[in-house]
Structure formats: structure tokens, C-alpha cells
């Protein structure tokens, strides 16, 4: 309040000053004073205009200085010009003070809604523009529901106004409301449809007044498009995550969509009838010589689309809206008039229009469930149109995008069509056409290729419907099983590989996240289909049939599957290997499920090699590796994989897995976890002695090859899992083991630094399987110790024989070796259990000790002598304690 008063006072003073200055005209005023004057002057011009202006400067006003309240009052002024200006003023005010809108929206709408029925055209237009540009966009974030419920009664009354222009504006405005708040339609469906029926039917705009008709028709089409169709709902549900509904809680009785719309069926029926009649009115225009004009095309398009939505709704939600009468009318008046352009000599744009209308008609034809009742010649016209579209015969005259859109609309109907058309020739025709579309993608030369890039998702859903409709196998028991269907199934793995490679490229290059997601989604869709095929036993069947049917074109199904999993290049292949290892985890999981079903009678050695090389791929995540083992084991348990194959898989995995010994952290390494997993799988395989019998030979073969430390440990652990006390291994195996073990034990000491206390767990990990083996066979213990003793004595002899310090390298090695052997014995001695096991063989240790003693007195380097001395001392202590140990046990 302080601020507004001040300028008013100043203004008065200045006015007086001005007069005084005028009297003293002869004198020049100092310029600075003048400058201030002019500034104030300009303010003074504005203010006197409004006497109440003083109270407004804090409040939002329009250009003309009116507050919102005043403007709203003026909207109901008796002069239309004032009303219009008020509306424009509000618009202007919102532009400068957007917050004003938010805080007063209900008040504004409560006042403004009266203007829907305004009898002046300019006012109505201003009103429409105000809502279109300002009111709705500003409220888009919050719930429009209450606002719409305020508006609706006025809209309805306007819809029933006596003036046609008012009514039209009401419809136009309603369309705007629906656009901004789609639930409006479902809330007032019945009444809205009633009003539309009324305006289209009774007021009969003649065909001449197309622009007016268009207003009503476009709104109606929009409304009908909001009718729920089950399919799209489930689609979105499948795609998105599951909504987390609360379970086990009191649930409010939320009516389902279908139930909500159940009562509108009567009204829908009416409106379909009205639309068909309206279409009838256009027939002469359609048949006219020069073709349609744009306005009538729009109208007809709206009509047809509206009908299509209504029928789609009734079909999908199983709410019958077509009674006998409407149905026959639909067939006769609408569908019977197909095709809409009997003359072919139309130019570009117009021909395109006709094509669009025809395709919408075709969609209606396909939707109407009773189309088989149509006279055959009419049906044939439709079938011909579909066939031509599928084969791309219209592409010359019709734009690519339009053609593609039509194709996308028609392709999902193909399975139904093939199922329903009884005529064999047509069926084969469609089959062929569809195969051309889908598989032509592989031939870059095909002229269709560009125009017909169907999304993989659509392709897959169609293939699924064709091969396993309702989740049931269809053609498999049919002797006339179609080669095309097999061709699709055959194509799937290669599609998978292609998509996978695309994905690989997309991860390497900088590609938009959205595109990558799309590829991933496509891969998962293909995999899902493959799983479904597998679970109904189709994959197996296909493979057999392909072999039988097409001797000259062998199935690539197996090879492609193999390629998908194998991360390495196959022999002679140029392109990189399969993409499996680089896919996201979720898709890998799906792929493994497919692998499970694929293994049914299909697990051939090449496939096994592919899987093994996948498992051994260094970049593969450990979790996936474990999962592969788990899945294959499940497949084995279910009898899909032969026991020998399964066992050889395990052995290969354990023997070939590459991993260096890790020193950091106490966590289980990948290979250790893998060994555990394989061992637990082995123990679940039934009678372990039998399994051991099968495996023994392979184990020995692997051991003779002297595997790396980690792999050796894995194999030893596998033997331990299967073996029992006393050992069931044969003599020859024990011999093989006794040849292997000394080297293995020395490796342990070599590879793991001795001094670090915290690494002792690693020793234990690698030693434990040996101890188990020693425990089970004393012969083995003896042999191993003997071998180690021989090694020591051999080296000792060699060192003694070699002339002094000449062969430094070899003697150093020998010293190292002897040291290692001593460490091994000490390690065994340190373990309570192992001490007991080796105690009967003290004589061997003593012999080693003797060798050490001889070495100490030999001509070794000082360093070597020192080392031998230390080793000897330690061994002596150990040997002594062993003695006490044996005596204790003897006592």
C-alpha cells in the first residue's frame, strides 16, 4: 500500500510545477531537472486513466489493466465485443502471469464454461483458442477430472442447442477435452454417443457441408478409438513390467474396462448404423469421375475408421453390437461397395486416398467375424486386394509409408485368414505371399525388401499364430504340412544370430539407447518363440521333417543355433562368432532356456563343442557359466542328454578352464565355484561308484597330460567326490596318479609364495584332495613319497657328479627342487590328519634327510649349502615329531 500512494502524490506536485514552469517561460530550466521530469511524465499518463488503478499494481492485470476478476465479469457482458475482448484479455493475462491460472483454475472454469453456448461466433472461437492454447496445456500435469466434470454439463447443453453453429462448436470443444483428458469419453460414453448420433443423423448435413460434418466425424472417430481393445492391453502388459497390485488386501470393486463399456453396445449399434448411412451419402461422390476431393476423403476416412474401431471393440471384448439388421446393412452397404475405385486412371494423390479407404474397408472386412457369409465374389475381391498388398503390387502408385502402414495393419490378420479361408488355392497364395515378405529380407536384391521391413515383433507374433495357434501345435500332425512354415522356423536361429550381431555392433558403437533396447526386445521375442516351439516339441519335429522333406536344402537350424552360442569363429568363417556371450543377462537366461528345450534329442557333439567353447570364453560372466552348467544338468536329469556326453562336458570344462591362481582376497574364485558345482552335480548323478567306473579312464587320460595346477586340482576333486574309502580306483589309475602327484605337489609350493601367512587357505585348498587320496590308498602315499625321494636322490647325485660350480643353472634348479620337496613334506606334516597318513612312511623321509646331509658336505655354493642346511633342520624336526607320532600311536 505504501508504494502505490507515493507516485500519486508526486504526480500532483509535478502537475503544479509544470504550470509554474509555463509562467516562467523566458528562463531556461536546468537540463537535469527536465530529465527526471520526463520519466515521471510517462507514468503519469497511465495512471490517471483508472481511478482505481492505485490498488492494482501488485495484482496481475492484462494489457488493458484489468484484473482477472474484472475480466471474468466482462465475459458475461451483454456486448459480444466486450466478451471477446475479455477472453482475449484473459489469454493475455495468462501469458504474463502463468501462476494465476493455477491458483484460480476452478473459479475460471466455473465462469468461463458458460461461454460454450455463446451465440456469437467470434466469442466462441476466442473461447476455444483460450482453452486450446492456455487452459489445458497449463493443467496437463494435474488431474483434469474435476475440471472436466465442471465443463461437461455445459458442453452437453451446448450440444443440444438450437443453433447449429453452437452445436458444432460444442462438438469441436468436446473433441478438445477428450484429446486432453481421454477418460472423459468412458465417463460419459452413452450420452456422448447419443449426441453424436443425433447431430450426424437428424441434422443431416448434406454432403455439401463437409467441413461441418468433418468436425463431428473427427471427434467421433477419436472417441471410438478410445474404446478398449483387449489385445493392445495385453501387449502393453507383456511388454512392460508387471504392475504391482497389492495382494491379499481388500480390493475395491474396480469395474473392468469391458464392463464399463458393456452398456454402450446399444448406442454403438446405432452409431454404426448412422455412419453407414452417412457413408451411403458419399457414394455418388466416390463414384464421381474425377475422384474425391480432400474434404470428402477426410470425412469418409473418419467414417470408416470409426466403424472399424467400433467393430474391433465388439470383437475383442466380446460385446456384440451387430445385430442381424446392422450386420446385413454393414455387409450390403459398406462392405459390398468394395473396391471404391473401379476406374484405374487416377492420379497420384487421389489414387492414394482410394487406397487408404480400401485398406480401411479391408480391415473392417477382416474384423467382421461373419465375413464368410459374404457372397464369394465380394470376398474374393478383398482377398485379391490383400494378396496384392502383401505382394507389393501397388507400390508404384502408392507412397511407401502408406503402403507400409497398410501392410502393418493387414499382416496380423494373415494367420486368421489362412486358417479361415477354405479355398486351398488362396491359402497357399497367402502363405507364399507372407513367406516372400518375411524371408525376402535376406535377399538384398528383392525389390520388396525396402518397403516391407516388418518389425520383428510383428513377424514373430504372426509366425507364432501360424505354427502354434492357441498355444497348440497345428500343422505338425497334418500330412500336408507346409514347407513355408518349416522355412520360418528354420529361419529363426539365423535371425537370432543376425539380431545378436546387430546388438553387438550397437554396444561397440555409440548407438542410441532406445535402438539398442529395441534390438534386445526383438531378440527376446524371437527367443520366446523358440522356447515355445521347443516346449511343444516342435523344434525336434521340424528338424526331422526338414531332413526328410528337403534333402537338397538341408536345415540350417542346428548350425545357426550352434553359431549363436559359440563365441569363437567356426572354421573358415569370416565374421565373428556368435553373440550369446555378449548379450545382456536377461536375454542370456532366455537363450539358456531355449538351449534346454533344444537339447531334447539334439545334443550332438558339435553342439556340445559350441557350448564348451562358450563356457571357456573368458568374457563370459561367471553367473552365466554356472547357469549353463545348471541348465545342462537339468537337461541331463530329464533324460535329454546322454550320460557320456554330459560327463565329457564336465571333464572338458574342468580340464580346459583357464584361470591363474589368485592371491588376493579369500573369496571363492570362479573356477573353485565351478569345481564345487560340477562336483555336486556329479554326486547327484546316482551311484557314484558306477560313475567313477565310467570316468576313471578319462580321468587318467587327463592326468597323464599333466594339466595346470588349477585344472589338476579340479580333476582331483572330482575323483575325491566320486571315490570312497578305501579307494575304488584300479591299480593302473593309482600308478598314474602317483606319477602325477609329486609334480602337482611341487607345483603348489612353486606357485604359491610360502611365506605369506594369509595364503595358507590356498595351500589347504589345493592339498586337501591329495590328502583325501592318500587317506584312501596307502599305496598311493608310499609311491608318491618314494618318487619324491628318488627325485631328491637323483638331483643329489647329479649335483655331486657335476664338477664344482660349473653348471650353476642346473644346480640352482636342483636346489630349488629339493627345497620344494622339503616344503611339501613339511606342509603334509603340518596337517594333523596328513601327518598320521605319512607317518608309516617315515623311512622315505629319513632317506631324503640323508640326501640333504650328504649335500651339505658336498662342494655346493655357500648359498646352496646354507639352504640345504635350513631345509635339513626343518625336515629333521618334522621327522622326529613323526617318530613320536608313530610311537604314540603304537603305544
Amino acid at each position: 500500500m505504501v508504494r502505490p500512494k507515493a507516485p500519486a502524490k508526486k504526480q500532483q506536485k509535478k502537475a503544479i510545477d509544470f504550470k509554474k514552469i509555463k509562467r516562467k517561460l523566458g528562463r531556461k530550466l536546468p537540463p537535469p531537472k527536465n530529465a527526471t521530469n520526463t520519466e515521471i511524465k510517462s507514468k503519469a499518463i497511465i495512471l490517471p486513466e483508472q481511478s482505481v488503478g492505485a490498488e492494482k499494481s501488485g495484482i496481475a492485470t492484462s494489457k488493458k489493466g484489468l484484473t482477472l476478476k474484472e475480466l471474468l465479469q466482462q465475459t458475461s457482458h451483454h456486448n459480444p465485443k466486450v466478451r471477446k475482448d475479455a477472453l482475449l484479455g484473459i489469454k493475455d493475462l495468462f501469458k504474463h502471469y502463468p501462476a494465476e491460472m493455477q491458483s484460480h483454475k476452478y473459479a475460471i472454469i466455473q465462469k468461463l464454461r458458460e461461454r460454450v453456448t455463446d451465440d456469437d461466433k467470434l466469442v466462441r472461437d476466442a473461447f476455444y483458442k483460450l482453452f486450446e492454447a492456455d487452459v489445458f496445456p497449463a493443467c496437463i500435469e494435474d488431474n483434469l477430472g474435476p475440471m472436466v466434470s465442471l465443463l461437461m454439463p455445459y458442453i452437453f447443453s451446448a450440444m443440444a442447442d438450437s443453433s447449429i453453429d453452437v452445436r458444432l462448436m460444442a462438438f469441436k470443444f468436446f473433441h478438445l477435452v477428450v484429446k486432453n483428458y481421454p477418460p472423459t469419453f468412458s465417463l460419459y460414453a452413452e450420452k456422448i454417443l447419443e449426441n453424436y448420433t443425433d447431430i450426424i443423423q437428424k441434422n443431416h448435413f448434406y454432403v455439401q457441408d463437409k467441413s461441418k460434418l468433418k468436425v463431428a466425424l473427427s471427434g467421433l472417430e477419436h472417441c471410438l478409438s478410445l474404446l478398449p481393445c483387449d489385445e493392445s492391453d495385453t501387449e502393453s502388459q507383456k511388454k512392460g513390467h508387471l504392475q504391482k497390485e497389492t495382494l491379499l488386501a481388500y480390493e475395491q470393486d474396480v469395474a473392468e474396462e469391458s464392463v464399463r463399456f458393456a452398456h454402450v453396445s446399444e448406442k454403438l449399434k446405432e452409431i454404426v448404423g448412422v455412419l453407414i448411412n452417412c457413408f451411403q451419402d458419399f457414394i455418388p461422390l466416390i463414384r464421381a469421375r474425377g475422384g474425391l476431393d480432400e474434404a470428402s476423403f477426410d470425412c469418409i476416412n473418419h467414417i470408416l475408421c470409426g466403424v472399424r474401431y467400433a467393430i474391433k471393440f465388439s470383437n475383442r471384448m466380446h460385446i456384440p453390437i451387430l445385430d442381424q439388421e446392422t450386420a446385413s446393412m454393414l455387409l450390403k452397404k459398406l462392405l459390398g461397395s468394395f473396391p471404391l475405385n473401379p476406374e484405374n486412371n487416377l492420379s497420384g494423390k487421389v489414387a492414394e486416398w482410394y487406397f487408404i479407404l480400401n485398406s480401411v474397408l479391408t480391415e473392417i472386412f477382416l474384423e467382421v467375424s461373419g465375413w464368410s457369409l459374404l457372397p464369394w465374389d465380394i470376398s474374393c475381391r478383398y482377398l485379391k486386394f490383400i494378396d496384392n498388398t502383401l505382394r507389393g503390387k501397388f507400390t508404384r502408385s502408392i507412397g511407401e509409408s502408406i503402403h507400409k502402414k497398410t501392410l502393418l495393419a493387414l499382416v496380423p490378420f494373415v494367420p486368421k485368414l489362412i486358417l479361415r479361408v477354405e479355398d486351398r488355392e488362396w491359402r497357399d497364395n497367402f502363405m507364399q505371399a507372407f513367406t516372400i515378405i518375411t524371408l525376402s529380407d535376406c535377399e538384398p536384391e528383392s525389390p520388396l525388401k525396402l518397403a516391407l521391413r516388418i518389425p520383428v515383433r510383428v513377424f514373430i507374433s504372426v509366425v507364432r499364430d501360424l505354427i502354434i495357434p492357441n498355444g497348440d501345435i497345428l500343422y505338425l500332425n497334418d500330412p500336408t504340412v507346409n514347407n513355408d512354415q518349416l522355412a520360418w522356423v528354420d529361419e529363426l536361429p539365423s535371425l537370432l544370430t543376425k539380431l545378436g550381431n546387430k546388438h553387438l555392433v550397437s554396444t561397440q558403437q555409440f548407438v542410441k539407447e532406445k535402438k539398442k533396447q529395441r534390438i534386445e526386445h526383438a531378440i527376446s521375442v524371437v527367443l520366446q518363440l523358440l522356447i515355445d516351439l521347443g516346449r511343444v516339441g516342435c523344434v525336434k519335429k521340424v528338424l526331422i521333417d526338414r531332413v526328410r522333406c528337403l534333402q537338397n536344402a538341408p536345415s540350417t537350424f542346428k548350425e545357426d543355433t550352434r553359431k549363436f552360442f559359440n563365441p569363437y569363429q567356426e572354421e573358415g568363417a569370416v565374421e565373428p562368432g556368435g553373440p550369446f556371450a555378449r548379450l545382456p543377462r536377461k536375454i542370456q537366461e532366455l537363450a539358456l532356456c531355449f538351449l534346454y528345450y533344444f537339447t531334447i534329442d539334439n545334443f550332438s557333439p558339435p553342439m556340445q563343442r559350441a557350448i564348451v567353447s562358450c563356457c571357456l570364453y573368458p568374457q563370459l560372466k561367471p553367473a552365466v557359466l554356472y547357469r549353463i552348467v545348471e541348465v545342462l544338468h537339468t537337461a541331463y536329469r530329464d533324460g535329454y542328454i546322454q550320460i557320456t556326453d554330459h560327463l565329457s562336458f564336465f571333464i572338458t570344462l574342468i580340464a580346459r578352464f583357464r584361470e591363474s591362481i589368485e592371491y588376493d582376497g579369500r573369496r571363492e574364485t570362479t573356477f573353485q565355484a565351478l569345481t564345487n558345482l560340477v562336483c555336486s552335480c556329479l554326486s547327484e548323478m546316482g551311484d557314484s561308484s558306477l560313475v567313477l567306473q565310467i570316468l576313471e579312464k578319462v580321468f587318467v587320460e587327463q592326468i597323464i597330460l599333466k594339466p595346470a595346477l588349477v585344472n589338476g586340482c579340479g580333476i582331483l576333486r572330482m575323483i575325491c567326490t566320486l571315490d570312497s574309502i578305501p579307494t575304488r580306483l584300479s591299480e593302473s589309475s593309482v600308478t598314474a596318479l602317483s606319477e602325477f602327484l609329486p609334480g602337482y605337489l611341487i607345483d603348489i609350493v612353486n606357485c604359491i609364495p610360502e611365506d605369506k601367512e594369509k595364503l595358507s587357505y590356498l595351500y589347504i585348498y589345493y592339498l586337501v584332495p591329495c590328502f583325501h587320496l592318500f587317506d584312501r590308498s596307502s599305496r598311493l602315499t608310499e609311491d608318491v613319497l618314494k618318487r619324491m625321494r628318488l627325485m631328491v636322490s637323483e638331483n643329489t647325485r647329479a649335483m655331486l657328479e657335476s664338477s664344482v660350480q660349473q653348471d650353476g643353472e642346473s644346480s640352482r634348479n636342483s636346489v630349488k627342487l629339493i627345497q620344494c620337496i622339503v616344503s611339501v613334506i613339511l606342509l603334509m606334516h603340518n596337517d594333523v590328519k596328513a601327518r598320521k597318513i605319512i607317518s608309516p612312511f617315515k623311512s622315505e623321509i629319513d632317506l631324503i634327510l640323508q640326501n640333504l646331509v650328504t649335500l651339505q658336505s658336498s662342494s655346493l655354493t655357500v648359498e646352496g649349502k646354507h639352504m640345504m642346511k635350513i631345509a635339513g633342520e626343518r625336515l629333521r624336526i618334522a621327522s622326529n615329531s613323526l617318530l613320536s607320532c608313530t610311537t604314540v600311536t603304537m603305544l
Binding site: 495382494l247 469391458s258 464392463v259 516346449r535 532356456c593 545348471e630 547327484e684
Partner: protein, 448 residues
């Protein structure tokens, strides 16, 4: 009774006179016997020999006798053995057409349902051994079968990863069958074979939980026929048990851990662990829940049966079933009249009359096709989705009382149809007359 059942761990001599005896039975995959133990005392009871049954292949038929499907097949046909409660030897052997994996009986013990290796499902009547129905259920072997609480629905899980829900009454509706839809629900979201299914007490509106090799457990609503939750576990789940309060379930993993899954889970992953059986990661193979005393029973790969207290999450007791992995555990409740001697004699009476073996083939029906009336309000989409046990009872009652509402409705419908056809007739007649008139006029014109 309730006091007795709630004080399980304590046991005294007086308890011999309780009205209900709770025992557990367990079988193994490999050749062995069905062991049975008294849950309270831990005392080993009779062992039934010989038996090697697959998972879900052991069932108590009411409290009458014991049935188990056998893994060892004789030729191409499978075998199902019956034991009476008081004899260790097999009393009745039946040889169905193919190996049966899953076997279950309804709570009264009047019907036995078996799931075959080929995916066929068989329904036998116990009293006569008649094969009432055989139908194609799945594409691969049926791995588990569960009855709903009111015995009106059968839920089957299969190696092909599908779960199907069957209404026992609709199965006999030939008209429906001709239309091609025999199942109530067909869930295909699992990507690998289904290992176990549990169902809660909601009857035809129940929630079911299914476990699968694909490492997930999924919660489904029978009322809505859709998937509600999918919970990922760190390992494949072999077995499930439902907590009686209905908000959590227990899942036995292949990694020897028992997980606690929440039905109302908000996250997709479950890592809450109740306990682990052994250090050597021997898989849990089966679970059972005993509501009396709130005990969770788990069987594992190494032949141990462990009794857990889910509240404290500690094992209470273990039973040793032998070397082979445990394939089934079931809690059996037997009611007694008075003391032990008497019950023994009553057992004998029951045991003496074991039913005949189950038949191999379905006998062709002589009397026409069977049609099940649609339930009332079936034209309202919300109500048409299921047939509950209550509804069946109602229909039976109505059938018994002639001239009931159902027949009246039927009469009403017929009357209406009659009226319509009369009208149609009139219409045709009128048309005919009109045509005749036209023809006559034409004729007249020609003659003129």
C-alpha cells in the same frame, strides 16, 4: 484337540489317546522304501517297501491308504502301488498305460489323478478303479498336480514350463471339449520346467505359486487368470511350501538353502534365507508344511529330512531316510476314535478293503454327450469365468428339487424361442403371400 496339536514338541504317554495322529511319510528316487515317522515323537513307524517314486509321486489317499507312482517301469507301462497303513508290503499294483510321474488324490480320497510322461493326465475313481477321464494336458511330462482347497480345480505343472488349471466338472463337458477349450487357465510364462506348485485356501479365487527350473517363482491369481508376481531366486527352486498365514512361502533351492519368498513382494529378487541344510550344498528336494505346531519339513539330496521351526529359523529335529535323495514328504493326519488298540483294529477293517487296481483304458461312454449347464449370470462377463464347488453343489440341489429356478429359466428361454420362431413363420408366410400376389399380377398383365 487344539491344545494337543499346538504343543507338538512336548510328548508324554497320555498323548497316545489323542484324536489325531500326525505322521510324515517320505519316499526316495532310488530303490528304497517309504519311511514314516511320528512327527511328535520322532519315532520311526512302518516302512513300506519297495518304492522308488518321482517327485510329487507319493500321496495319501484320504486317510484310507497310501499310493505312489513308481519310477521303475515295467515295459512301456508305468506302475502305481497301493499300501494299506498297517502292512509294509505292496497290496495292490496297477499298471497304467504309460509311466506316471505326478500323483495326487483329492482330500476325501475318492479320486486319484496321475500325470503321465507324455503329458496326458488320468483321472481314476478310487472305489471302482475306473479310469473316468484321460486327457491331453501338456506337451511334456506332467511334473506336479495339485488340487485346490475345495477340490473343484486341478492345477498341473509340466516339463514344458506351462501351468494349467482344470475345472474337474468342466472336464466332463463334451460340448466344451468340442469347442476346444478344456482348461480354465493356461499359464506359459515359465521358461523352463515347473517343479512345484502350491495353492492357498481361496478356492476358485486362490492364489497359486509355482516354482521352476528357470530360477523364478511366480504368483498367479486364479480369479483374474493372470500373473501377479515373478520373483527371481539365486538358484533353481525344487520345492515349495506355503505358510498357513498365506503371506509368505518357502522355497527349497538347489543350493541347499530354503528361501522365504513374500507373496506380496515388491522387489523382483528374493534373497531372504530361512536356513541351509548342509555345507556341501546338497539340494533341497522337497518341502512340506505342518500347520499343527507350525513346522516346516524339508527333504534333501543326501537323504536327510529336517524339521524346522520357521519362527526361530532353527532346525528342530532330523530324520534319516537313507542314502538316496528324498523325493517326497507328506504330512498325514489320521484320526482315531479312542485308544491305540482300537484304532489298530479299525485300521485293519479299513485296510482289509483296499480298492481294486486302477484301470488302464477309458471305457467308452454309452449315454450320449455330457453338457454342464452354464452357471447363472454367465452372460455377465465378470461371473462367467469359473465354476466353483459351491456352484456344483447348488446345481445338484436344484436337480434334486424339480421345478427349481434353473428349469424355470430354461422354460422361459424355450418359450421365448418358440415365440420367435412363430413370428418368423408369420413373416415367411407374409412374404410368400406378397410374392404370390406379385406373380399373379404379372400373370394377369401377361394374359392381358
Amino acid at each position: 484337540q487344539s491344545e494337543n496339536s499346538s504343543l507338538l514338541p512336548s510328548f508324554s504317554e497320555e498323548d497316545r489317546e489323542i484324536d489325531m495322529e500326525i505322521s510324515i511319510i517320505a519316499s526316495s528316487f532310488i530303490d528304497g522304501e517309504i519311511g514314516s515317522w511320528d512327527l511328535k515323537t520322532g519315532k520311526a513307524l512302518l516302512k513300506f517297501k519297495p518304492c522308488a517314486s518321482p517327485a510329487h509321486g507319493l500321496t495319501a489317499v484320504g486317510d484310507k491308504f497310501l499310493a505312489a507312482s513308481q519310477l521303475k517301469a515295467s515295459g512301456s507301462s508305468g506302475s502305481i502301488f497301493f499300501w494299506s497303513w498297517n502292512k509294509p508290503q505292496v497290496e495292490v499294483r496297477s499298471f497304467p498305460k504309460e509311466p506316471i510321474l505326478a500323483l495326487t488324490a483329492n482330500s476325501e480320497g475318492t479320486y486319484i489323478v496321475g500325470g503321465g510322461k507324455s503329458g496326458e493326465i488320468y483321472l481314476w475313481e478310487v472305489a471302482t478303479g475306473k479310469l473316468l477321464k484321460k486327457w491331453h494336458g501338456h506337451f511334456q511330462s506332467v511334473t506336479c498336480l495339485v488340487f485346490s482347497g475345495d477340490d473343484s480345480l486341478l492345477v498341473s505343472g509340466s516339463g514344458d514350463g506351462s501351468v494349467k488349471v482344470w475345472s474337474l466338472i468342466r472336464l466332463f463337458d463334451d460340448l466344451q471339449r468340442q469347442k476346444g477349450s478344456t482348461h480354465e487357465h493356461y499359464f506359459t510364462e515359465h521358461t523352463m520346467s515347473v517343479t512345484d506348485i502350491v495353492i492357498d485356501y481361496g478356492g476358485c479365487n486362490a492364489l497359486i505359486v509355482s516354482a521352476s527350473e528357470d530360477r523364478t517363482c511366480k504368483v498367479w491369481s486364479l480369479a483374474k487368470g493372470k500373473l501377479l508376481r515373478s520373483i527371481v531366486f539365486p538358484s533353481a527352486i525344487n520345492a515349495l511350501a506355503l505358510d498357513p498365514c498365506g503371506s509368505v512361502f518357502y522355497a527349497g533351492g538347489r543350493d541347499s538353502k530354503i528361501y522365504i519368498g513374500a507373496m506380496n513382494a515388491t522387489s523382483d529378487h528374493c534373497t531372504k534365507v530361512l536356513g541351509s541344510i548342509s555345507e556341501e550344498s546338497k539340494a533341497i528336494t522337497c518341502l512340506a508344511y505342518c500347520a499343527e505346531g507350525n513346522l516346516l519339513l524339508s527333504g534333501s539330496e543326501d537323504g536327510k529330512i529336517c524339521v524346522w521351526d520357521p519362527k526361530t529359523r532353527h532346525p528342530v529335529r532330523t530324520f534319516d531316510h537313507g542314502k538316496g535323495p528324498v523325493s517326497n514328504i507328506q504330512v498325514v493326519r489320521k484320526t482315531f476314535v479312542t485308544n491305540l488298540n482300537k484304532t489298530l483294529s479299525s485300521w485293519k477293517r479299513n485296510g482289509a478293503s483296499l480298492p481294486p487296481p486302477l484301470e488302464k483304458f477309458e471305457k467308452p461312454e454309452e449315454d450320449g454327450i455330457v453338457i454342464v449347464d452354464p452357471p447363472p449370470f454367465s452372460d455377465v462377463p465378470v461371473y462367467s469365468s469359473y465354476l466353483s464347488a459351491d456352484l456344483i453343489d447348488e446345481q445338484v440341489r436344484e436337480l434334486q428339487q424339480q421345478g427349481s429356478a434353473a428349469t424355470e429359466i430354461e422354460m422361459e428361454r424355450l418359450k421365448l424361442e418358440y415365440k420367435k420362431s412363430l413370428q418368423m413363420n408369420d413373416q415367411w408366410q407374409k412374404n410368400y403371400e406378397n410374392l404370390l400376389q406379385v406373380v399373379m399380377e404379372l400373370q394377369n398383365g401377361v394374359t392381358n
